[in-house]
Symmetry: C2
């Protein structure tokens, strides 16, 4: 499991010619880091006298960011699994017409799964982006730049994840499936329009 | 050392109320991931028949991305050290006028160091951004989206690092020092204008 790897070892494997972990897991990990940074700001706000008036909302935000972080941590592993599954199908025999047909069908299923994982990463990144501004407005001023880094990393995770959905879509044959994915991508992107910049403005206002 | 922490443990500490690691180390780590992803694409290009014509340049690019990654890995640790140094100075006694003066001087030195580390992270991120397009144009097509994720993460590392320089600048008193930092920030940002988008265009062209 990626989560049990040491940072240095993870980076070495990422850089190596081993195809996993790749950009998909990296996107999910960056997403987890964005959620973790919001949690840090929240944890450093709770229990402080001067932030008592926002404590209730910060508690709610902490529950959200920690739940999203847990989802991201799962997605890091799921991305590796989906890629390995895809690679396994690629290695299926393709000599007879029957083998070709079976392989081709299984490939499409594996590709849809491989596209679903980064789509989920994109959704979760959007969830982070949607709470960044509130954390930046209410969180402990002393660590407010960390809420800004949280917003920057959430947007990067989202953008990376969408690129990973798209590369899988390129190999998906069914037009209807492609359209469904593209509609979902558009919905996610629309849901976060301006969120990163609004969060960064809130951060700069309090720096 | 951060590099010896397991991913899960790193994320838990990042999310916790412990002030380190924070956004500064996170930026350096994301930078290391961006360089690692370029190295992965390069490693999966070298030795492949259909990429023999670009092997010489890919070898050079691999040396660069791996050298930048090593720098980022050091910067992850240095950011924690600089922050701990700053916190230690904050705790110095400030009762007598003499103590106040000593503390104030040491604080300025610690703040400059704390701003220098993310400035270095920003420089290294720019170095990654400056090779992304070439990797995207020449690298193995099968993993070209990873060069795109590399570009996205390098830009996020750069932006996060600059935010971290700025929060430290806010507490630096000497105007000349502030100006020097701001000039360097502008130089770095000018040096990467359009790089991320150009790299992403090259990726999309080959997807």
């Amino acid at each position: 499991m990626i989560k049990d790897k040491k940072i240095k070892n993870f980076l070495d494997t990422l850089a190596s010619s081993s195809p996993t972990p790749g950009g998909g897991s990296a996107a999910a990990l960056v997403g987890a880091m964005s959620a973790a940074l919001l949690s840090m700001v929240e944890n450093l706000t709770i229990g402080k006298k001067q932030y008592l008036n926002v404590e209730e909302s910060i508690n709610k935000l902490l529950k959200k960011s920690e739940s999203i972080r847990a989802d991201f941590e799962e997605l890091v592993e799921k991305d590796v699994e989906a890629f390995n599954q895809f690679m396994a199908v690629m290695k299926l025999p393709k000599e007879t017409a029957e083998q070709k047909e079976i392989r081709s069908k299984k490939l499409q299923i594996a590709l849809i799964e491989a596209a679903n994982i980064p789509l989920e990463v994109a959704k979760k990144s959007a969830e982070v982006l949607n709470i960044c501004q509130e954390v930046a407005n209410k969180g402990n001023k002393n660590v407010i730049s960390d809420a800004g880094v949280g917003a920057i990393l959430a947007e990067a995770a989202l953008e990376s994840a969408i690129l990973n959905v798209k590369i899988n879509l390129n190999m998906i044959k069914e037009e209807k499936t492609k359209e469904q994915f593209n509609t979902k991508i558009t919905e996610i992107m629309d849901s976060v329009k301006g969120e990163k910049n609004d969060a960064l403005k809130a951060v700069l206002n309090r720096m």
